[in-house]
Symmetry: C2
Subunit: 221 residues, 2 copies
């Protein structure tokens, strides 16, 4: 089932077009990371097989496997950050901003379980992806904290900075728990994701669910 199994021996790229293989390698690694049940088992030889190329050919474009993986992870992280920002851009209110960010986060996570695990599951060996598990999410967390502080209501709104930080942290942990359990425990009878997101934000902001649902459904259009 491999794309270039034996059918097309993969025509060699023309003279100044060596970069296309590099792009193919990145794409293949991304696809494998997204697909694999255990992204940390990604193998240099798997990537080579996927593209239909010899394992040694990768070293012309990346110094080693670690560099390839880090490149892919950086792209995925930027993609998620961009998606969340774009989702929140047309926000008519602080609450809409928060809802859009959270919904984008959760949907990206469940749509691409492998990528989510790779970025936030803390699974990649430290020697392969130095500081990826530890650094990733820090910027996203900051945005969520700010968005939550602006959207919260009642006594939660008028709280000190460290209270706001804790509230944002709890929201993020809730989002992360939702995504990772949803991905890993498919056997559980899960309610619709949007119900969970609605309830989650409602609980963390003090706003009624009725106020959140419309903001969430309009996301689809």
């Amino acid at each position: 089932m491999s794309p270039q199994e034996r059918s097309a021996p993969r025509r060699r790229n023309p003279r100044g077009q060596g970069q296309v293989l590099k792009a193919q390698l990145v794409d293949a690694a991304a696809k494998l990371l997204a697909t694999l049940d255990q992204p940390e088992t990604l193998t240099l030889r798997q990537v080579a097989r996927e593209v239909g190329v010899a394992p040694a050919s990768i070293y012309s474009h990346f110094p080693d496997l670690s560099a390839l993986i880090q490149h892919v992870l950086r792209l995925r992280y930027e993609e998620l950050a961009r998606l969340m920002d774009e989702a929140a851009r047309p926000a008519a209110s602080p609450l809409a901003d928060l809802v859009a960010r959270c919904a984008a986060y959760v949907h990206w996570g469940v749509d691409q379980p492998g990528h989510y695990r790779t970025l936030f599951g803390g699974r990649m060996p430290a020697d392969l992806v130095p500081g990826a598990a530890h650094g990733a999410g820090a910027e996203l967390l900051g945005a969520v904290v700010a968005s939550l502080a602006a959207a919260a209501t009642g006594e939660r709104k008028r709280s000190a900075a460290d209270q706001q930080w804790q509230a944002g942290l709890m929201l993020w942990t809730a989002l992360h728990g939702l995504v990772s359990l949803y991905n890993d425990h498919g056997a559980i009878p899960w309610p619709p994701l949007d119900h969970l997101i609605t309830d989650l934000i409602s609980v963390h902001t003090g706003r009624p669910a009725a106020e959140i649902t419309p903001l969430l459904t309009q996301r689809e259009g």
Copy 2:
């Protein structure tokens, strides 16, 4: 630093005492799973090395590596379930029951990151631990749902069964998110765990934090 590096060539067990090696193997595997940064990289040969025995000797006591790991996981799961039940046993109220269960869950998770990852991180390859990631937690979840339903207040208390299920599910995802992010992202400035647990239960039950804190602190005594 290996315990039996070369110092004690490990005296062979006497005639009917073959079971002691089995126990040693289980202990060593448990220790390694708890210690390793990536529990899924546990190796049959590591276990053998830890005990100071030949890799082949394991096959006298377990049919294969999978059986050994499953045995250890079952023990850990039973330990966690027992701890949660015991913590909740002297509960003076439904809320105290819930607080005790949640606190026991979180503290067990952060005290033994490796075991927590192994049980709930969905990391073990499916061919090695069939259905462990999917089945584990189902019983715990049932207990949490029941405990939450009894402890909730306001409109949350008088909700339909599927609403209670969703509420319990959300509480569990929040707990899981807290534990797993706490374990994997040590660089984040975390508030004290008990503050987070208090806030988390408060948010999910509708009870004021002041009502929860005393139940949590008395846990220590």
